[in-house]
């Protein structure tokens, strides 16, 4: 393996995929089981020495639920740990194991080293979640060149697949991205003439995804088990895992059939019940409604209206549900495009972006067919960034939907006390005026402030969000014009030493 190849990785809540740019095409790399997508599931053995990821781990979920970790993406960026046996793991460490599985299988497939990657994240992922995802890539031994929003990746793949790049066509595309654990709504302007893909507005839900539809069916199965005289499966992880596996099977079945049969032994009791698609859609209608409320919010602040949308792209495996397709069609008054493979498109788009960024580094820009003159992806800040004020309010500095990269400076800050020479305050992410409702992503401390009255605005704070997503914060004393010593400490970012420690302590794959 002498060569290296940049890859694009769709690190999903329930399933993941990896792709690379081959000759004239973007190829999704099948895993060692011969599948294009890999379950985002990890099992750690009894000795805590070895880990298994993918389908093999999913197969262990029923038999060994205590040692199986699923949907860890939903915990990314949170200050929590996943405990397996006696060991605790951070969510990004579990995600790193999934990435390792993807990369190792891909290396075998293309017989090439892989050490650079573009990893996709939900567009609505916040700073902590993005940082955790980047940490996961680094723990997995990857140089993460970019965290790419999933809707942007899908649009890129769509343009490439349609061969439209460089054509004199421009479209306003709405991307309805319903993944396993998250929902993203994005309005994207794709100008094929200029090879310009620009996210105009984005919104989303980090707690609504296909897994929630599965849970609805899981609840129905639980009722059937209890009605049949069985114990509540929620008290038994093994039975609960069995219930969820049955629920997934029924959900998939209802995507193609009008009804599905639950028959067999669940939780030690025999059950035999039928769930129709209509029943399922009625039970889960509130979830679909939540996605449309989010879409409404997006259009409330967008310059464009629903009528301005030229095409609706469905992304994410959960958009296979007829309920979703019909709902989207009704909302937009047009049939959504089904030209993309919802499971693979995101990884394909990431692979194109990885190749472009690799070209940028090597100076070779004519490798990708249809993108001879390069391609530009313009993304926006998903959630506003600001600082917590003394009275508990949030002063937003970078607003949501601001373009990335961006530099925003505010000059209306002052000290609380006269002659105060230092101040420390949290950096927040979120739209609420109330600081407590927003997420803290770090702290900043300003030192060596020259003494002055607290009655006048005398401090400037500048946020710079670079194209690779790094947030830099600086401050200035407006009275003297001198920079103030500002130290920003991310709530979740990890230094090289911590990354190395995680790498050393993780179980072997």
């Amino acid at each position: 393996m002498n060569n290296t190849k940049p890859v694009g990785i769709d690190l999903g809540t329930t399933r993941s995929a990896i792709a690379h740019y081959a000759v004239d095409d973007v190829e999704v790399l099948f895993n060692s089981e011969g599948e294009p997508v890999t379950p985002s599931v990890v099992t750690i053995d009894e000795d805590d020495d070895d880990a298994t990821a993918g389908q093999a781990a999913l197969n262990q979920a029923v038999l060994n639920p205590d040692r199986t970790i699923q949907e860890v993406k939903r915990k990314m960026g949170e200050d929590v740990e996943v405990t397996v046996g006696g060991e605790s793991y951070k969510p990004e460490e579990i995600s790193a194991l999934i990435l390792q599985k993807l990369v190792e299988d891909a290396k075998e497939k293309i017989n090439t080293d892989i050490n650079e990657a573009v990893i996709t994240v939900p567009a609505y992922f916040g700073e902590n979640q993005r940082t955790a995802t980047e940490n996961a890539g680094e723990i997995a031994g990857l140089d993460v060149k970019r965290l790419l929003p999933e809707p942007s990746a899908a649009c890129l793949a769509y343009g490439f697949q349609k061969g439209k790049l460089d054509e004199d066509v421009s479209e306003n595309i709405f991307v309805y991205d319903l993944g396993g654990g998250t929902f993203d709504a994005s309005l994207v302007d794709v100008d094929y003439e200029l090879n310009h893909v620009e996210t105009l507005n984005t919104d989303g839900l980090n707690n609504v995804g296909g897994a929630d539809w599965t849970s609805v069916i899981g609840g129905w199965i639980t009722e059937q088990v209890i009605d049949a005289g069985g114990a509540d499966p929620n008290g038994n992880p093994q039975v609960q895992s069995q219930v969820m596996q049955k629920a997934r099977e029924i959900k998939h079945m209802l995507s193609s059939k009008e009804s599905a049969q639950l028959a067999g032994i669940v939780g030690g009791v025999g059950v035999d019940a039928e769930l129709t698609r209509d029943q399922f859609e009625e039970m889960s209608a509130y979830l679909l409604e939540e996605t449309f409320e989010t879409t409404d919010q997006l259009f409330d602040r967008a310059d464009l209206d629903v009528d301005d949308v030229d095409k609706v792209l469905l992304v994410g495996g959960s958009t296979r549900m007829p309920q979703v397709r019909n709902g989207v069609e009704e909302y937009f008054g047009m049939e959504p495009s089904v030209e993309l493979n919802p499971d693979r498109a995101v990884a394909q788009g990431a692979a194109i972006q990885a190749e472009l960024l690799s070209d940028r580094a090597t100076g070779v820009t004519d490798e990708i067919v249809g993108i001879d003159d390069g391609l530009v992806l313009v993304d926006v800040v998903p959630r506003s960034l600001g600082v917590r004020l003394h009275d508990g309010r949030t002063s937003h500095i970078i607003e949501s939907d601001d373009e990335i990269p961006t530099v925003v400076r505010r000059e209306d800050f002052r000290t609380v006390e006269d002659n105060q020479t230092a101040v420390e305050f949290p950096i927040l992410e979120g739209e609420s005026e109330d600081a407590d409702d927003n997420d803290k992503i770090g702290d900043i401390r300003l030192d060596d402030i020259p003494p002055r009255s607290s009655n006048e605005d005398s401090l400037a704070i500048e946020f710079e969000l670079t194209s690779d997503g790094t947030l830099q914060i600086e401050a200035e004393d407006l009275k003297s014009g001198e920079a103030v010593n500002a130290t920003f400490e991310s709530a979740i970012s990890r230094d090289e030493e911590e990354i190395s420690k995680s790498q050393a302590e993780l179980p072997d794959m």
Binding site: D189, R360, V376, P405, E411, D412, A460
Partner: protein, 442 residues
């Protein structure tokens, strides 16, 4: 700390900016100017460009300067300057606020004040801030929606550079006799885009529409109202001077020419002020480093635009136009007004003398009206002959100047010497009339 948006001010270090825009700098061969102060110049769009045009040009600019298309040591602030311009000009409300600042303070200072206002969290509305800073009533402002209803000013980019022969220049360029033409100019760089000239305008005299465009740059004059206009012009840093021209009032045309702090060409703004409304025709400003020539349209010149030139490093030689100046058909009245309002010619002397008389007539009209009324009253009395002379002569004096009022003076505003001549002639006529019409008969 990355420099703030207000870093375009005139005190900014010129070296770094000019160097970063030149040579192999990304986008050097494009019309976009990310280091320019004005947002319109950064995106190379007219000030009254429709949103659709702003969006398209903005995307092109973003494509040119996006970090993903640059080397990894690219200064992302350059892209941020483009995206700042895009976000502002694509948002109708923000664009209105921004243009209000530029209208009242000029492009460079207006941009800086607008950005400072934003950085301070917009504590007051834009109009309140402008009023406070001006310590007076801000210029009348026409919202963007009305500006957009105008047809965008046509622009001509990279026209064929046809180098005129010396004889052509002699024949076609009114500036050949301009006394302001520098004799030391040897600059004949045919690639200098400053020479490119495009112009449209609807002819209704100077109090109506007047558009002057310098290609490659922001259009220079936009009509906001009947008596006020904004002139904004910037030149590409590095390749040329960055320059803004701003401010306009009907009888006080004030050009503020500055380099925006981005080049070494101008350390201080150069102010050129006309006290009166300038006449149509050719107007030239010179400094040691630059020459600016602007033609102003007069009535009936709608179809043929005048020249607008920028020359750097000197100007034309003697009686010939600079070789690199594009020559177009001059305005039809440019023969009389080719130099400026101060050009002296026999026709000018005659016209200005007549105008002086008219000026005095207008000035005396309240007095004359009173006398004429008295004459008509006299007709009702037994003094019929006296009343006839009074009414006839003074009504003539009343009607004559009123007949001129409202007509555009072909020579523009009348200078003081000609007014004095008019006063003397009017006084003589008045004395003669009074003596013959009243005193003589007695």
């Amino acid at each position: 700390m990355a420099p703030s948006e207000s870093g375009d001010n005139n005190t900014e270090s010129p070296t770094s900016d000019s160097s970063s825009q030149s040579g192999s700098t990304p986008g050097a061969d494009t019309p976009f100017a990310p280091l320019a102060a004005g947002y319109h110049t950064r995106l190379d769009v007219p000030i009254n460009a429709p949103k659709k045009v702003v969006r398209k040009e903005g995307k092109k600019a973003a494509n040119t300067f996006h970090p993903d298309k640059q080397t990894e040591d690219f200064d992302e602030e350059i892209y941020v300057r483009i995206s700042t311009a895009r976000e502002t000009l694509q948002d109708s409300g923000e664009r209105d606020d921004y243009q209000l600042f530029c209208l009242n303070f000029g492009v460079v200072d207006g941009t800086e004040k607008y950005e400072t206002w934003k950085q301070q969290g917009k504590p007051q509305s834009a109009s309140e801030v402008v009023t406070r800073e001006l310590k007076g009533t801000p210029h009348e402002y026409i919202p963007l929606s009305e500006l957009e209803s105008h047809t965008p000013i046509p622009r001509e980019r990279d026209p064929p550079q046809q180098e005129p022969s010396e004889s052509d220049a002699d024949t076609n360029t009114p500036e050949t006799t301009d006394r302001d033409v520098s004799e030391d100019s040897t600059d004949s760089n045919g690639d200098d885009p400053l020479e490119q000239t495009t112009h449209t305008g609807s002819g209704a005299g100077l109090t109506d529409q007047m558009d002057i465009i310098l290609s490659e740059y922001t259009p220079t004059i936009v009509r906001y109202s009947d008596d006020r206009r904004e002139i904004g012009l910037e030149m590409l840093p590095g390749k040329y001077n960055v320059l803004s021209i701003s401010g306009w009032a009907q009888h006080d045309l004030h050009f503020n020419i500055s380099d925006g702090g981005l080049t070494n060409e101008f350390d201080e703004p150069v102010d050129v002020t006309w006290d009166d409304l300038p006449s149509p025709g050719h107007h030239r400003f010179k400094t040691d480093d630059m020459e600016l020539v602007i033609d102003l349209l007069g009535e009936g010149d709608a179809d043929v635009g005048p020249n607008t030139h920028h020359d750097r490093g000197g100007s034309s030689t003697g009686a010939t136009a600079p070789k690199h100046q594009e020559t177009t058909t001059p305005p039809k009245d440019s023969a009389d007004t080719s130099a400026s309002g101060l050009q002296i010619s026999p026709m000018n002397i005659l016209l200005k003398t007549v105008a002086g008389v008219v000026w005095v007539g207008v000035a005396l009209s309240p007095f004359l009206t009173t006398l004429a009324s008295a004459g008509w009253v006299a007709l009702l009395l037994p003094l019929k002959r006296t009343g006839f002379w009074i009414s006839t002569l003074f009504t003539t004096y009343l009607i004559l100047p009123l007949g001129f009022v409202g007509l555009p003076h072909p020579t523009g505003n009348v200078p003081l010497p000609f007014v004095l001549v008019g006063v003397i002639i009017s006084a003589g006529l008045s004395f003669s009339t009074i003596r013959k019409g009243l005193l003589g008969r007695r």
